[in-house]
Structures are given as structure tokens and as C-alpha cells.
């Protein structure tokens, strides 16, 4: 049992150590190194897990292939973010160390969400992840837009939590169980879904839609993404979504919910509107973080196709897309974080002009990530998108696949605009010097993006439980 729960314990212990160290001796470098070591150890402890899968802890947490893989991705993401965000956080005048404290507790919440098999653990994980995020979003306390983003996120996330609790309560009221698998069994015995459960599911989906930023629950996304520090935006887009998505995936798969037409149509509607609205809104933006925010809405719309496709195909495509999306957006936002000087992030597309002259390596990583998000060949995003289209087509969701294809075309327009600017020469340009460790982290990202874009065979095989 200890082995299976080791990653959680290690993160928890790291959290406590970091907290104690911060209270007695403030040192940014020391805190970062400690957090990094703890997260790395948690990642290493995951490799031991493979022998004893799957494993259940008191009906609360489940340790299986899916959770191990995604917890691994989350830990890896945070490792990269600690490295690439160090420079960024260092520019903040005071109270740098609490950042790591909050980040680690948010990570712990996300890990619990990924592994949860019970409504209670899911809710617990969600809150543990969200509450530190309220503070993290507003971490640049002196800047107005960051505080504004924090307040917006706090209010709306609070409302969505209320919705979630109400939804879960309704489902509990009808089925008498909090356990995901018992609930699924209860549902599968029903021929017609009672309106009680349906209302609960609706509220649950609304709250999940908020977390994943699906249209029409997306309004918070651009402002929060814009105002948050770049590493936190990266965290929000990747780790922040993995947990919610996986719980939704488990629930749909166990209970075979997509065979119930109301749920199917709700999800299809969310998918279609997210794809179209997200992409169309991104078209007219010139603020890079806002573009990426709107594009993340569209990406979540694509991901829903995998949920609707269901079965083994849907599972694989969804997992692969989720992981690739997380890695690509980490690459993009890490680059933004590294470009930040004197707490001033580059905002407008024009500020990215001549990045290739200033730092060829950063420009290559940034554009590879952007192109991976766009689904261009030679990058992992291409294979992920093809895989998603395959899953959709195998379930005969032709309309959704067609929309996926059309929207990829639209998406290309705004992604290419960013990359065009990066390679556009400018008269004057000062070189950017990257710290060595950050360069290594970025090199790691680009190797993964290209490797999975060219020869994904082995990884995809490994993805199958």
C-alpha cells in the first residue's frame, strides 16, 4: 500500500519541509531546489508502481495504468515549470517562496483528482487544487490585471464548486452511493434515467465544463489566462485540466453514459460550440496569451470527441491528445515565462517579432510548441489530431470529425500569425541569454514533441492498458 501511495506521501512531505524551511530561512533558490527534488523523487517512485497495478485504496483512490501515466505527466509538467518558472518568480520583489508551497499543494490536489474513484475524493482533490490556484493566479500582487484575474477566478470557481456539490448531492440522493463504480452499476441497471439523476448529471457537467473551459462556461478563461503569471497559466491549461478530464472519462466509460441520448447530446453540443466559438474568438485577438486561452477552449472541444467516441479507441485518443496538449502548452507558456523581463510579459504578437534573432533556440521551441498545438506534421500534435479523428471516425461521428478538421484549418490561421512574427526580422534586437537548466528543460520538451510527432508507435503501444 505504501508503494502505491508513495507519490502522494512524497509530495506531502516535501510540502511540509518546504513550509518549515520557508518559515525559518527564506531563500528562493533553496526552496526551488527542494521542491524540484521532492517532485523528482515522487516521479521516480512512480516507476515502482508498475508491478502492483491496479490497486484500490479504501474505495477512495485507484492506482491503475491511467492514473500512473497521468500523475507522471503532471509531475513532469511541474518539474519543467519549476525550472522554467524560476527566473520568472525571481523577478517578483518579495515573497517568492510561497509560490512553491502553493504549487505543490495544488499539484497534490490534482494528483488526488486523477486517482479518485469517489465523489468525495474528487471534490476534495478539486478544492485542494483550486484554492491554492486562487492565490497563484493573483501572485503578481502589485499588478492590477493579475489581482483582477484572481478575483474573477475565485468568484467563478466558487460558483462552479457550488454547482458541483449540488450535482453530486442529487446523484447521491438518487443512487445512495458516492462511489463511482457503484454509481455506474446503479446507472447501468436503469433503462430510463430518472430526472433526478439527469439534473444532477447536468449540474455536474456544467461544473466540469467550467473547469475544462467549455463553451458556454468559458467566459473566465481569457481574463484569467491573461492575468496569471505565465507558469501558472501553463499549470492551469495542463495539470488543471487533466484531473477533471480523467474523472469525466472514468465516469462516462464505467457507466457507459454516452449511450444515454441526453448526455450524449449535451456533450456533443459542448464539443461543437467549444470548437467553433473558441476558434472564432481567437481569430481576432492579438494578445498571445488570450489567443492561447481561446485555443485551449477549442482544444477541449476536440477532446470531447474522444469521450463521445468511447471504447478503447476513444480512451487512447483522449489520453494521447490530453498528454500532447499538456506538453505543447507547457512548451509555449514556458517560453513566454522565459521571455519575461522585469515582470513584463510579452503580450502582443508584435512583441514576439524577431525572437528568432534574439534567441534561435527559444524561437524554435516556441514555434514547435505552437505548431504542435496547431497540429502540424512533424510535431506530436499532428499525430494526436489524426488519432482523435480516427477515434471519431471509428464511432461514425462524422459531423464532429468534419468540424474538427475545419476548425484545425481555422486554428492554423492564428497559430501561424504568431510563428510568422517570431521569424520576422527586425532592425534592432538584443540577445536573450537562457539559463542552462531552463535550456535543458526546453530541449526535453522539443525532443518529446518531435519524437512523438515522427515515431509515436512505441508510446501509443505503451498507452494501451
Amino acid at each position: 500500500m505504501f508503494v502505491a501511495l508513495a507519490p502522494y506521501y512524497i509530495i506531502l512531505v516535501t510540502l511540509i519541509i518546504v513550509m518549515l524551511v520557508v518559515s525559518f530561512y527564506r531563500n528562493h533558490m533553496l526552496t526551488a531546489v527542494l521542491s524540484f527534488t521532492g517532485t523528482a523523487m515522487a516521479l521516480i517512485s512512480l516507476t515502482n508502481l508498475c508491478n502492483c497495478l491496479p490497486w484500490w485504496a479504501q474505495d477512495m483512490l485507484i492506482t491503475d495504468h491511467t492514473s500512473t501515466l497521468l500523475i507522471g505527466v503532471s509531475l513532469l509538467t511541474v518539474l519543467v515549470l519549476i525550472v522554467t518558472g524560476f527566473h520568472y518568480i525571481h523577478q517578483i520583489e518579495d515573497k517568492k517562496e510561497e509560490y512553491y508551497l502553493l504549487l505543490l499543494s495544488s499539484l497534490l490536489g490534482a494528483m488526488i483528482m486523477i486517482a479518485s474513484r469517489n465523489f468525495v475524493t474528487f471534490f476534495l482533490g478539486l478544492e485542494l487544487m483550486s484554492v491554492p490556484l486562487y492565490a497563484l493566479v493573483a501572485y503578481k500582487r502589485t499588478q492590477r490585471e493579475s489581482v483582477e484575474a484572481g478575483i474573477k477566478y475565485l468568484l467563478l470557481a466558487g460558483a462552479s464548486t457550488a454547482t458541483l456539490v449540488f450535482g453530486l448531492a442529487l446523484m447521491y440522493g438518487a443512487s445512495g452511493t458516492m462511489d463511482l463504480y457503484t454509481f455506474a452499476m446503479y446507472l447501468s441497471q436503469l433503462s430510463q434515467m430518472p430526472s433526478f439523476v439527469l439534473a444532477g448529471l447536468g449540474l455536474f457537467l456544467a461544473s466540469v465544463g467550467f473547469k475544462l473551459a467549455l463553451v458556454p462556461f468559458h467566459v473566465w478563461t481569457p481574463d484569467v489566462y491573461q492575468g496569471s503569471p505565465a507558469p501558472i497559466t501553463a499549470f492551469l491549461t495542463s495539470v488543471g485540466k487533466i484531473g477533471t478530464f480523467v474523472f469525466l472519462l472514468r465516469m462516462l466509460q464505467e457507466a457507459n453514459l454516452t449511450s444515454h441520448s441526453p448526455v450524449f447530446y449535451i456533450l456533443a453540443f459542448l464539443s461543437v460550440t467549444s470548437m467553433i466559438v473558441g476558434n472564432l474568438l481567437a481569430l481576432s485577438q492579438t494578445h498571445v496569451k488570450r489567443i492561447l486561452a481561446f485555443s485551449s477552449i477549442a482544444h477541449m472541444g476536440y477532446l470531447i470527441i474522444a469521450l463521445l467516441a468511447g471504447g478503447n479507441n476513444g480512451y487512447q485518443a483522449g489520453m494521447f491528445y490530453l498528454i500532447i496538449y499538456a506538453i505543447s502548452s507547457i512548451g509555449a507558456f514556458s517560453s513566454i515565462a522565459l521571455l519575461t523581463q522585469h515582470q513584463k510579459e510579452p503580450n502582443d504578437i508584435s512583441e514576439y517579432q524577431s525572437l528568432y534573432q534574439r534567441s534561435p533556440f527559444l524561437a524554435i521551441v516556441f514555434s514547435a510548441s505552437i505548431f504542435s498545438l496547431a497540429g502540424m506534421p512533424l510535431t506530436a500534435g499532428f499525430i494526436a489530431k489524426i488519432y482523435l479523428a480516427l477515434a471519431g471516425a471509428s464511432a461514425a461521428l462524422w459531423l464532429l470529425v468534419l468540424l474538427l478538421v475545419v476548425n484545425s484549418g481555422i486554428g492554423l490561421y492564428y497559430y501561424t500569425r504568431i510563428v510568422s512574427a517570431v521569424f520576422k526580422p527586425a532592425e534592432t534586437s538584443e540577445k536573450i541569454r537562457l539559463p542552462l537548466v531552463s535550456s535543458l528543460a526546453l530541449a526535453f520538451i522539443i525532443v518529446i514533441i518531435v519524437w512523438l510527432g515522427v515515431a509515436p508507435g512505441g508510446f501509443l503501444y505503451w498507452l494501451v492498458p
Binding site: I386, S394, G409, L412
Partner: protein, 509 residues
């Protein structure tokens, strides 16, 4: 293994030239030329064996699982047709690399240049549909990166690379939909889920479905060719970078190859139904592009539209379903790339000497730069289809083949040749003859330019007079494709086959 070696040489040299640029600015070019020559040599040596092989199961196939869970293989193959284009691509690649001597960031340039060439070569090799699509999309990226870096700084048209990427990507995505649909239909029928071209050719499709899927494929190919309603990106590309010439010469030919290799064999019946529309598009392309070429003064624009006009002939020839016209198509693809490429090279040389692309701005070049003007005259004559040069063979074969299908189409297409004569001679008349008007100092072609131009001209001449090697190398493939296309309107009688040889080269056999 040979095919994999060719691809690997190109990719390896791409990386080496990116790394080598730090040592010396001439290293990338040296490595590229060396690698391209090596690949060209390898491809040429294996050319004779390839002619008799059947695509998809040749002795030098390379087949390993790629995305095994989805049933996609990394399957490279080559027959006479594809190896001919590989050789031609590499040959133009060498010329392009030789031309590029003074360029900023040589490492960046040659890295993308070789990546682009390996993408194009990959298209000609892919025997797996998903792999084909991969290469198809892959070649767009380096092209795009070359365009954004080397577009002219004072170019008003900021959106050229953009337009290019959008047009080609979106149409490519439609092809992806078609590929996926074919994959699943075939999988349901035979329970073999495979992207293999030879497997998918066995799929039985009802006519409406076939038309639907074919539209996806054909749209992607027509955009790449390009034909008239979809040509928006092409003149823009030509005016963006002088080197785009070489690329577009090869790049656009992948569209015709796609139709011949995929669209017609996969959807024979739907293709026959599509033929009248294709003919109409072809005629429109020939005439409309020809007229624009005639009315424009920018020499690059003339080159671009003359290239588009030539693709009109390609479309007509392809959808005439006739061995004669298909041979013509192959010739047209090669001859047009050389002719138009030569014209655009001259345009670039003209710009470097006089600072203008405008053909009304200068005249009487012959009195100052006779070698320049001589080559200019030959290229113009090639474009208008003078007998003795390769373009004549191409257009003649296409028209002779089409004549058996539709006399009206042939007549209309012939008008295109007259227009071609008009715009080609207009260049001669404006630029080369007359009283001298231009800069005081005017240098003739340099030794390197002379050598490159004479290579092109010699090639045009040789192909125009001695057509047998090309006919021979693709004959088997084209005949097989024509037989596959079971519902061709008029099956050729055995006697008709001899007419091919008679028209082309009376002495053989």
C-alpha cells in the same frame, strides 16, 4: 533500403548543414550539394531496375510498422514513375543549391531546403496513405519557413507565406478526411484495418460515396497544382522569393502525381464521372492563366501564370484516360518545370542587373548582353512549345490523346498554345530586341549562371529530340494504371498501343 538511404542522406545532410554553418558559411552549401549528388546517384543507379517493378511490392521496398495501433506502416516503394520524379526532384535540387551562393543564414536555409526536398521525395515513395499524407503535410512547413525568412523585405504582400500555408493545409485536411473514410470503409468490408495503398485499392465503393471521398483527394491535389479557382497562393509565392521558382517547379508537380497515383486508381468510376468537369477546369485554367500572363508586365507573374496555364494541360491530359496523353502529362510536368524555372531564373537575373522585373521598363538587351538574351529567347521558345524542345512533345502528346476523347476540348486547348506564343514572344519583343533602354553598365550572365542555364536548355533539347528514356520508364506504370481503370470510356485496341511508339519515335522496335 535504397529508398530509406536516400531519405536518410537528405535528412542527415539537413542536420549537418544546420550544425556546420557555425564553422564556415560555405559548409552548408557544400554538404547539401554533396548529399544531393549522392542521393541523385543512388536513385539514378537503381532507375533501370525500378522500371519493371510494381509499386507497393518492389524488390527495394522498405516496410516497417509505424503507428502500429492504427495499422499504419512506414512503407516506402518506388516504380519507374516515382523514381523518375525522385531523380528529377534531386536534379532540380542540385541546381537550386548551386544557385544559392550568397544568402543570409545559410544553415537555416539549407536545413529547410533539404527538409523540403526529403518531404517531396517522400511523397513519391510513400506506399501507405497515412505516410503519404504525412509527407504531403511535412513539405509545407520548411517551405513556409523559407518563405517567411527570405521574402523580400520591401514586399508589400505580408501574407504570402500565410496564404500558402492556409490553402495547402486546409485542402490537405480534406484529403485526410477522405483517407480516414476509405480506411474505415475498407476495414468494415474486409476487417483488415490498413492504410496500405494496395489494400485500399481493393475497396468496393458505391458511386456516391466514391465521389464524396474522391472530392477530398482531388481538391487537395487541385489546390497544389494549382488550377484556376484555387490558384490564389501561387503567383504570390513566385513573387515572394526568387528561389521559390525551383521549389514550385517541383512542389506543384506533386499534385499531378497524386492524381495519377491515388485519385484515379482509387476511384476509377468516380474519376470518369469527374472527367468532363476536370476538362472544363483545365480549359478554363489554360485560357484564363494564359490571358493573365499575356497582360502582365512583371516577369515573375508571367512565369507564375504560364506555369498555371501549363497545369491546365496536365489536368486535361490526366482525365483523357489515354496512354498517349498520360505520357504527355509526364513530359509536361518535367518540361514545364524546366521552362518556367528558366524563365523565373532569368527574371531574377534581370532584376539583379536592372533593378526591375517590369518587362516594359527595359528593351534592347541583345545589344549589351547577348548570351543572356540568347538563353532568354530559347526559354521563351520552349514555353511557347517550339518543336524540337520538350514542351512541344508534351503538348502534342496531350492534345493527340485528348483528340480521341473530345475534339472540342482539343480545339479549345490548342488556343492556349497560341496564347502561350503571344506571351512568350511578348517578352522577347519587349526585353531583348529594339533600341537599348536600361542601366548604363550591364553585365552579361556569369559563368555559373551560364552553366546552369545551358544545363536547362540542353535538357529541354535532349528531351525534345530523344523521348524514349522517359516513355520507357513510365510506360509500364501508366499501362497498368489504365487497365486498373476498368471503366475507361474507350479501351485501347492492341493495335493502338503501337501508335504510341509511332508518334513518339518511329524507329524503335
Amino acid at each position: 533500403m535504397i529508398l530509406l538511404t536516400i531519405l536518410s542522406i537528405l535528412l542527415l545532410c539537413a542536420i549537418l548543414s544546420a550544425l556546420g554553418s557555425k564553422l564556415h558559411s560555405q559548409i552548408p552549401r557544400f554538404i547539401s550539394v554533396l548529399g544531393l549528388l549522392l542521393a541523385l546517384g543512388l536513385a539514378s543507379v537503381n532507375f533501370p531496375t525500378a522500371i519493371t517493378e510494381i509499386f507497393g511490392s518492389t524488390s527495394f521496398d522498405y516496410n516497417v510498422p509505424w503507428i502500429a495501433v492504427a495499422g499504419a506502416n512506414f512503407h516506402l516503394s518506388a516504380d519507374g514513375l516515382s523514381l523518375l520524379f525522385i531523380v528529377f526532384t534531386l536534379f532540380l535540387g542540385v541546381i537550386g543549391a548551386l544557385l544559392t551562393s550568397k544568402i543570409s543564414n545559410p544553415g537555416y536555409f539549407f536545413f529547410h531546403y533539404l527538409l523540403l526536398l526529403s518531404g517531396i521525395v517522400g511523397i513519391f515513395m510513400a506506399a501507405d496513405l497515412l505516410l503519404f499524407f504525412f509527407f504531403w503535410e511535412m513539405m509545407l512547413l520548411p517551405m513556409y519557413f523559407l518563405m517567411i525568412k527570405y521574402r523580400e523585405l520591401n514586399d508589400q504582400n505580408e501574407n504570402t507565406p500565410f496564404k500558402f500555408l492556409l490553402y495547402t493545409q486546409v485542402s490537405g485536411l480534406l484529403m485526410l478526411l477522405g483517407i480516414l473514410a476509405l480506411f474505415f470503409i475498407h476495414g468494415r468490408q474486409t476487417s483488415i484495418y490498413s492504410f496500405e495503398l494496395s489494400d485500399l485499392m481493393q475497396t468496393t465503393l458505391s458511386l456516391p460515396v466514391a465521389i464524396f471521398i474522391m472530392t477530398g483527394f482531388v481538391l487537395a491535389f487541385l489546390v497544389k497544382l494549382p488550377v484556376i479557382p484555387f490558384h490564389g497562393w501561387m503567383p504570390a509565392t513566385f513573387s515572394a522569393s526568387p528561389l521559390a521558382v525551383i521549389f514550385t517547379g517541383i512542389l506543384v508537380k506533386t499534385g499531378a502525381y497524386g492524381i495519377l497515383r491515388l485519385a484515379i486508381p482509387l476511384f476509377p468510376e468516380a474519376s470518369v464521372l469527374f472527367a468532363p468537369t476536370a476538362m472544363a477546369i483545365g480549359i478554363m485554367t489554360i485560357l484564363y492563366a494564359g490571358l493573365i500572363a499575356f497582360s502582365s508586365n512583371d516577369i515573375r507573374k508571367i512565369a507564375a501564370y504560364s506555369s498555371i496555364s501549363h497545369t491546365g494541360f496536365i489536368i486535361i491530359g490526366l482525365y483523357a484516360f489515354n496512354i498517349l496523353s498520360w505520357h504527355g502529362v509526364i513530359f509536361q510536368m518535367i518540361a514545364s518545370a524546366i521552362g518556367v524555372g528558366g524563365l523565373a531564373l532569368l527574371g531574377d537575373a534581370l532584376y539583379r542587373r536592372t533593378g526591375t522585373y517590369d518587362i516594359t521598363g527595359i528593351s534592347g538587351l541583345w545589344s549589351r548582353a547577348s548570351v543572356f538574351s540568347g538563353f532568354g529567347l530559347v526559354i521563351s521558345l520552349a514555353i511557347l512549345g517550339l518543336p524540337g524542345l520538350a514542351n512541344f512533345i508534351a503538348e502534342f502528346l496531350i492534345l493527340a490523346g485528348t483528340f480521341q476523347q473530345s475534339i472540342v476540348v482539343t480545339i479549345l486547348a490548342s488556343i492556349g498554345i497560341v496564347i502561350a506564343a503571344a506571351y512568350a514572344l511578348r517578352i522577347v519583343q519587349k526585353v531583348y530586341v529594339g533600341e537599348y533602354r536600361g542601366p548604363v553598365e550591364l553585365k552579361d550572365l556569369s559563368l555559373r549562371e551560364k552553366m546552369i542555364m545551358s544545363t536547362l536548355v540542353v535538357l529541354l533539347l535532349v528531351l525534345g529530340l530523344y523521348t524514349r528514356p522517359i516513355i520507357r520508364s513510365t510506360e509500364k506504370v501508366l499501362e497498368r494504371t489504365l487497365i486498373l481503370d476498368s471503366s475507361q470510356p474507350e479501351p485501347l485496341a492492341p493495335g493502338n498501343d503501337a501508335s504510341v511508339k509511332y508518334f513518339v519515335n518511329p524507329q524503335i522496335d
